[in-house]
Assembly symmetry: D2
């Protein structure tokens, strides 16, 4: 009998939920206990709710039946819940699970700004795991850990590397976000074929606050946000998977472009040091071609195979008027979604937090 | 017999050349003398080289035959040449035409940084027409006037309005540029379907220099560039027509958002004052919806009919950390290409420069 | 005071409803009395429900307020209702309006197979208008006339021309249908970006029955379907507007390809003979280029301006093993939607049926 | 030292050439001796000519240097050449290689209709390998074997299965072909974004002749074409990878739909019997969902991993007026390109023809 940790996947009929399932197949630490979704999908085969298009699931996964969300049952059967449910639903459900003693690793945004809930990208801020101990439910083993929104996740590792090395004053970011980020059915095709949608509800605000929270500290029972400024412009473009982001950075120091590239390429965080299963060997890939990164080529960056889509690719590192400019591509539903929470839970597993 | 000014269209088989032809149909000041292109297209019907997809040409235009470029013939037959030829070819051809006494209005980039060649957007800097008098060829009636590259044109009118009203320190701009901007055949489909290309050769450098030249002054025989800074990131996205641009502006003053909107919406320049035929009644349209401007809705902004695609649409005017943020959409081959030079020539016509 | 016929537009917040509004602006026979939609949209400005992207409405149209659907009010205020409402809703609403004496011209499919309800494409079967006299409601002036589904409409005029000239045994048709045909929000972008959807609910059945009904006859109180066979394969492709269809035809005679082309190009129907306002001068445009028709070039075929998008474009007329092959492009929401019903009503107006 | 067969890849900078390289990584029978292309690419790293977007090559492959095509050198170093070069170049080069004793497995169309050159899809017609013995060059070990064009390959296995079981009179096929089929740069983006291109040069003629040749026989020194008729309409659609095809079949017998599905799903050919490395376990996947097959879901059909993209997926099997209708999706550059020739060479290897 397997001694892997039993996990529930919440929202298993959705885009993020199915990425959780993908990353949990043959996972060395975790084992899927059940796939959960709303009553509407109860009893449906996973295969019949398929939304992920570029991954071939194992037959036994395809044959799994969706169960109706039931927090009591989940809390009895699972130590961990990976949550890909919509934010409005997540608020209550995740609190309920934590109260029932479940460790919730969630992609939902509802709890990201809660007083003791961390937003973790483990290359950046595993120290903020401390905050979970101040969650009321921690005493009975339940807590909530969130991953950041997809746009923030894609750039936070490069920002961390540069902030540590050179100091960071200001971040000007414009996003070119993939349609898969809006879930399914998500963006109507008439809104996006041959078009740009220069508005994603609350996305700019999230970037401006989540980056500062993650790159700040947790001490004395509260989060101290980093004091750099973020000016974000967020848009949706007709790309299936992969967020592209343009960055203009105001650094405190004045490194050479080669130093910037070296700092990024050589950056390693806790997941790399611990050799976590879904950790990319290098979390930041630096490309030197004049026209990279691009979603079609770079969205799946990351080795080994289990870490495909878990690295951010940076390219076109340039200077202009004292600012540093670069482009970043990352996978919005792997690194920027389910993969982020998987990596968080892998870290927790190794640190005895599960 | 018509007393309209005879004009040649150079590069009439290309994307920009055909937009020139479109805007010259039934023009009150100008009359097409001939459509010129390379030897390869000589004798071909205009209809058989058709690239513009959203405009229905008159039958007599469709039946016109392409002539081989011949600067001697053009200079004898035409007072004006509208040039949509590639930059490498334009350098020599346009100089040759100016030497032969032709007033060249060009979309090509080759002469934009020449000592006495102005880049004109007539809502912004008609005073820089003065520079043509210092061109060596001016004495015999020949000169070169350029329009700006498409990305700069889309935002220069809003920048002018705001600079005049509030002062301008810095411009952070990211572009979402349409594929028509690369001409035909231009961008291979494999490079852009479901992708973002974060590189357009020389585009960022052009934006950083052309905006400063246009918003500067010409005096004592030379151009003085405006002293604000531009940090540009330029990318191609899968959109047929219409450049979208995200702006973060560092203004000297601190107007309210309503003041910014009013300043933009009420801005009028020389083309509006003179009632030029292709001038949009309002060169800047301000939209208040949460998700505008968008290429599919706003690319053809501009009234009356002759000015369709000649207005820039601004929306989502916001503030963040003291910066002003907004989005702009403009038509890259009308306002940002052929239409720009047509408007320049209309101004010149009215000022007796033709 | 205008003596134009007062008309209601049902479903004015939808894709088809807004095409009705477009075609009714400055119409010589009709005048919009009101724009109707569900309670949810009551009071909204037309501008704030805008879905049509390529047409610029008059300001007074944009400022019109949506009214809640009210058949009693409509029947008192209007002689005609143009209906672009969904089929499930249309079934009852349209019957109700007809019973209240309104002449209903509808794009909805719900009544197309009713015993005395004709599917009219007026180049093809105006004689089937006879059937409305057998509708129970006709005595009080109310009746229902439908236009065909978009895929059938695009090819029925060419089929009529060829059937009359050469006899028709079998039609093999595959469709490449635009996303606007599914309305808004319609097709999720994740389903169609870089994809083909080889299934459109009930579309193949509709083509197989509607073509036979239209090309048949109405006599002795019932429709006699034409006896040729239709084998349809229907798919959605990532195109905004314009259905493309491949045809393989089994004709009774063996005309030359030139004869086929001439028959198509010279075809004229009742709308042309009567000079109806929205009738294209030539309902079938024949192109001889090797790579036409294409949606981007041909979707708006049709002159004069009021008839833009009302002609079908046929090209690549070839033979293979005794069959005739060709491609057809038509505008699915103009000719294949609202425009079809407008043309039907124009015919009725001229024939004293309104 | 490896005793694998040394192979050359011709056209290694192109779309098909790179798919050859992908399928040859760690191949159990073959080992790449060199990557060949035109002089222009000589010395370039494979990585710097990368066109395949969805496969991650091994680092040692990425570091390989392109060599200039040199048939003398190739013939001395390699037993086999896999050719992905353009047809105009292929005609002479491949003949030259065969004369020098090389077994040429090619995707190029130039020799497909040669008197003794077979078009092989090994699930269908391995018996036609006999023809190579009648090639003049066979005595010295050189010969040419072609794979079919991508559109024919996608459907020929299902056609074979049905022809054998029920007899086949007529095939009506319309294609929805991916842009990768046109190579790189291939289709200009302006021609295909939100468009359908109803013309692919010579494609319809190829389908009509190649299918008949493959499904015919070779005896007494010549090919006897199968006597069913093919009526093809070929179009390009905005899809990156994966050809979709609609089929209407006129069978001699009248099987039930379930019998048709069973015949297709249970079909196995020589590659399956021999367990060739790149052979899909089932060459035809039958899907029962109402909206499958689709390129985004089905293009990579085929197990095990080495056979991904090597199966055709059939769905929506229906009847209409006595005809059988269905849809097929296949990978146009794997199964329909490089993978086809790899499978041919694997068969030859096992049969002692190398």
């Amino acid at each position: 009998m397997s001694d892997k940790v039993k996990v529930a996947v919440l929202g298993a009929t959705g885009m993020i939920g199915q990425r959780f399932v993908q990353m949990l197949e043959d996972h060395p630490y975790f084992e899927i206990e059940g796939l959960y979704a709303s009553e509407r999908s109860e009893g449906k085969r996973f295969a019949d709710a398929l939304k992920v298009r570029d991954y071939v699931y194992k037959q036994e996964t395809l044959d799994m039946r969706i169960k109706k969300m039931d927090t009591k049952h989940i809390s009895e059967a699972c130590r961990v819940a990976f949550s890909g449910i919509p934010s409005d639903l997540a608020a209550e459900t995740e609190t309920d699970l934590a109260q029932k003693g479940v460790a919730v690793y969630t992609n939902a945004g509802s709890h990201r700004m809660d007083a003791h809930v961390p937003i973790i990208v483990p290359e950046v801020n595993t120290d903020q795991f401390e905050s979970i101990k101040d969650q009321e439910t921690y005493s009975n083993g339940g807590y909530i850990v969130t991953n950041a929104n997809c746009s923030s996740t894609g750039i936070v590792v490069p920002l961390k590397a540069l902030m540590d090395a050179y100091g960071l004053n200001q971040v000007f970011v414009s996003t070119y976000q993939a349609i898969s980020g809006a879930g399914y059915p998500g963006v109507p095709s008439l809104d996006i074929v041959s078009n740009v949608l220069p508005f994603i509800s609350h996305e700019e605000e999230k970037m401006e606050s989540e980056l500062a929270k993650m790159l700040g500290t947790y001490s004395m029972g509260s989060f101290n946000f980093a004091d750099f400024k973020v000016m974000a412009n967020c848009a949706r473009v007709p790309v299936i998977d992969g967020h592209t982001e343009s960055l203009v950075l105001d650094l405190k120091d004045t490194p050479s472009l080669q130093e910037v590239a070296d700092t990024l390429a050589s950056f390693r965080g806790e997941p790399q040091k611990l050799g976590l299963p879904s950790a990319p060997e290098a979390p930041i890939i630096v490309r030197t071609e004049e026209n990279r990164p691009q979603p079609v080529f770079d969205v799946y960056a990351g080795t080994p195979v289990r870490a495909r889509g878990m690295a951010s690719t940076v390219g076109r590192i340039r200077q202009s008027n004292g600012y540093y400019k670069m482009w970043v591509v990352s996978h919005n539903t792997l690194r920027g979604g389910a993969g982020g929470s998987i990596l968080n839970a892998e870290y927790a597993y190794r640190k005895g937090l599960l």
